[in-house]
Subunit: 552 residues, 2 copies
């Protein structure tokens, strides 16, 4: 596997050794954002505690329990209670997770970690857990930002973290059917490297790509940055296998069926509550020969949004398409330091009508050169009708190079006392403006209620003919005394505003513990009942990732 | 609504007044098919009984029951027990349905028919049925070919047929979101006419288009003839509303969500077992400006199949794409009479390698003229690489003109003592050859076991990058003494062969009563359990279309 968890940052994003470099303009950006928030970020230092200082709660399993678990998991090296192993699986990577970890404030940790290497071992673990009434929390990379892998059980039973990352093999490869089957614990880079050797590709690249797994993508209905071309992970799933306490659900392996409900689409998004996804067959495509991404400047967000809608509406499958709002546009300019801003000739642009409300979009695709040229050309023509001004390929190159780096920035900013939270939703096109206004206003109001200032920006990505994803980022000064108590009302204000405007509580992050209270707005009371009944049929004693997604 | 059920053929397809005309070559075709089957079809006449001679079982509802039902449904004109109304909803339009109707052999009929005009009326009917423990069988056009609307209850309770066709209004139209919401009982032509007035289109055209409804399409996961471009109905659904005994399931109205399982994809294919679909929001598109369809001749089925796979694999969204196998190709030539065969210069083609195994395909699309020309050109270039020979647009025009007419032929052939059965499945591309061989051999073997001969042909339609639908047609001489007893082992032989080769038991017809026994091969024991639990949560007393899809 590509990720040795021991080399990852125990209290932050990604590799222990990696940091966001701000392109050398850290001080410039910290000064700017500090001024926006009314704090001296540049001279604030709030480092995390030392991991060695954290005392985890003792495991509640007996030696005999652990021995049985080890046998079920496949041997001594497939089970551990080592403190660092438990610590690394005690929380995901949401803002409150980072806040807790950095303070060393960990009320829970898995009672044991198992690392099965086969579906048979997963089934044996599941059987043992059912017999002993232990909860099972499956995880891949553990990058959940919604409280999806917390090793806690509302009923207080012991919790086993089931780490799938040893199950990382390609099981079959069938170019004739444009399909490949993988064990679910394979990380993104390993999956793509395996396919690339044969000239093929999946094309699913969420921002967590390097630190998340196929099974995790399916369990949470993940979307990749190129979803406009290749679809979301739920579109890519051809079939899958799930080990549940009541046996294995193996879905039909074929293109389309009218034989009853689509079980793949019930498993996608089940977040471990049905059981453990062990194997997934995905739709693959030959590796594209080239890609081309243009940056486009719009006078304002409404024009950019209309352009994106028209591009997807025209059936153009742009694999890269995102639109930063005016605040995100300004923020990225500041992150690039003072030089670029001069280079861009902003005053000249202002004269042309691209002033304070200007928004940058990226529009591009990949494939064979001729198709790419034609489709990007058509998309640019549509953009131009909405006053889109081409900035060429330069800014897009920077974005493409840095596209997995932004999560690291959260840690750098936390070191300077600034919290970065994200929240994404999807709405029909007709609600984009309203949901953006309401969420922004709700955030500012919730942070102001704490006597503080917030910095809020947003972008559109993952656009569809019928609507789009809108992704919010907010920054605010951390209250060191009660960072979780401070975060909760802000998060609630965002979620309330999202559902008030008809948005989904998550377009691609999932539900977990953090969004659960808002799910009923979207599924309805009857819909929640349907989902709960299906989960209960597979998991009668509620041991599968209890408390996530649904109340159990 | 476009269909007055009283003007439809009580024991056959479509309009009472319409027949398949065989383009004037009825005698020629009957002679040919008779010779293939070893019978004198031309001089056989087996007309149906008179509908007036059929005695339906008496309704089991009391006058007070009927009065209560009438009130719930919305008044005297929303409830009926008239014999013709009950007869017209007693069976669908499968081959065994036609065989039963033609013999006047009707062991059951709905105890009453209700025709609600609002969701509130549907909910009131559902409430009353739950209180009285009556079964509810929803239907739209009633064109099921899998025993989907049979008004029988395995537990012997009275059965109400709930006819949705009075609920046929457009509820909302939002071009900005490329969506429209309709009441579920709207027929295909009415839906498209409503959208066409505004310059828009849904583009879902199953062969049953004229006699089926939006709600029926969703309940059965229908596919239209243009699914390669616009998707199957399950892809078009943005949200829907279902009246269940436990309340209304209203799914989220937006493009894509990661908030738990996708309930739309559980409702699609639920076949009335969760409740009654009352409203559906669908993704629509501007009406295309033009279409272009070419016929292409391939030397054999394998080459044609490879061409279709490469066309979808290249990302070309051909709205029309089907490939007849060699027997279907020959059969359609015979249906066109003797003249066309000469015209086509078959002997010249034979010299070029297009002999007995030649297969005709249709390849085309719709949209703006420039895109259509380019995409059809690219598809034809791919076809050519597989030795596809363009026959131009002529043959395709005939197919396009007749595309809703073929179901009428079943009735003409039944009049001459010949049964026509259809069965469709989908498989990954790698299994197309095997499933075709096995299903064909199984049919010939099952019919031969009865001392008779069969005529079997097939075509590919609804192709996907990962696989394709394969649609079988078989003709055999009807055993007038026991036509149902004769049909059952033939149907079973087909279904066995399909699942033996990894095919779905239905790509777009559904499950109903007829395919139910084979569903477990596809969903597995655990999957069946999951579905049953979800249905039971919405319908604890099992009154919703009982016995279809699942055992209840």
């Amino acid at each position: 596997m590509s990720v040795d968890r021991n080399s990852t940052n125990w209290c932050g994003w990604g590799w222990q050794a990696s940091r966001y470099d701000f392109k050398g303009h850290r001080d410039y950006f910290l000064s700017w954002i500090g001024a926006r928030l009314g704090v001296d970020a540049l001279h604030t230092s709030t480092p995390p505690v030392s991991p060695e200082s954290i005392e985890l709660p003792a495991t509640r399993l007996t030696d005999a329990d652990l021995q049985a678990l080890s046998v079920a998991a496949g041997g001594a090296d497939a089970m551990t209670t080592a403190p660092r192993a438990r610590l690394l699986r005690a929380l995901g990577r949401s803002l409150p997770d980072l806040l807790r970890l950095r303070r060393g404030d960990l009320p829970y940790a898995p009672d044991a970690v198992v690392l099965p290497a086969s579906e048979a071992a997963v089934a044996a673990i599941m059987q043992l857990c059912r017999e002993h009434d232990w909860a099972v929390v499956p995880l891949g990379g553990g990058s959940s930002v919604v409280g999806g892998i917390e090793p806690i059980d509302p009923r207080g039973r012991p919790v086993i973290s089931l780490d799938m990352t040893r199950m990382c093999a390609m099981v079959s490869f069938c170019p004739q059917d444009r399909c490949a089957t993988f064990q679910a614990g394979i990380y993104g880079p390993d999956l793509e490297a395996t396919l690339a050797q044969k000239g093929w590709e999946l094309g699913h690249v969420p921002q967590s790509f390097e630190f998340s797994t196929l099974g995790g993508w399916v369990a949470t209905r993940s979307s990749g940055q190129q979803s406009n071309q290749y679809g979301d992970i739920a579109d890519m799933v051809v079939s899958c296998r799930v080990v549940t306490p009541e046996g294995i659900v193996a879905t039909w392996n074929g293109p389309v069926s009218a034989a009853g409900p689509d079980l793949d689409q019930f498993i996608a998004g089940s977040e471990g509550t049905l059981g453990v996804i062990t194997e997934v067959t995905v739709h693959i495509h030959p590796k594209p020969k080239t890609h081309k991404i243009n940056a486009v400047l719009f006078p304002d967000f409404a024009l950019g949004s209309a352009a994106l809608s028209d591009i997807v509406g025209a059936g153009l499958r742009m694999s890269y398409m995102r639109l930063s709002d005016e605040v995100e546009t300004e923020t990225y300019l500041k992150m690039s330091g003072p030089k670029l801003i001069q280079d861009m000739g902003l005053s000249a642009l202002r004269v042309l009508g691209y002033g304070e409300n200007k928004c940058v979009a990226l529009v591009g695709t990949e494939g064979d050169p001729e198709t790419v040229d034609r489709e990007v050309g058509e998309a640019m023509a549509i953009a131009k009708r909405h006053r889109g001004l081409s900035l060429g390929g330069g800014p897009a190159k920077n974005w493409h190079r840095d596209r997995y780096m932004h999560p690291y920035m959260r840690d750098d900013l936390l070191d300077a006392g600034i919290a970065t939270e994200t929240h994404e939703t999807a709405v029909p096109w007709s609600r984009v403006a309203a949901v953006r206004e309401d969420v922004r206003a709700s955030i500012h109001s919730a942070v102001k209620a704490q006597g503080l200032k917030a910095h809020v920006f947003a972008h559109l990505s993952h656009s569809y003919p019928t609507g789009t994803c809108i992704y919010f980022v907010l920054m605010y000064p951390v209250d060191a005394k009660d960072s979780i108590g401070q975060w909760k009302p802000i998060k609630a204000a965002i979620c309330d505003a999202v559902v008030r405007n008809g948005g989904t509580i998550s377009h691609h992050h999932g539900v977990g513990l953090d969004h659960k209270a808002w799910l009923v707005h979207e599924k309805g009371v009857a819909g929640m009942k349907l989902m709960a009944a299906a989960c209960k049929a597979m998991d009668p004693t509620g041991i599968c990732n209890p408390g996530k997604l649904l109340d159990t």
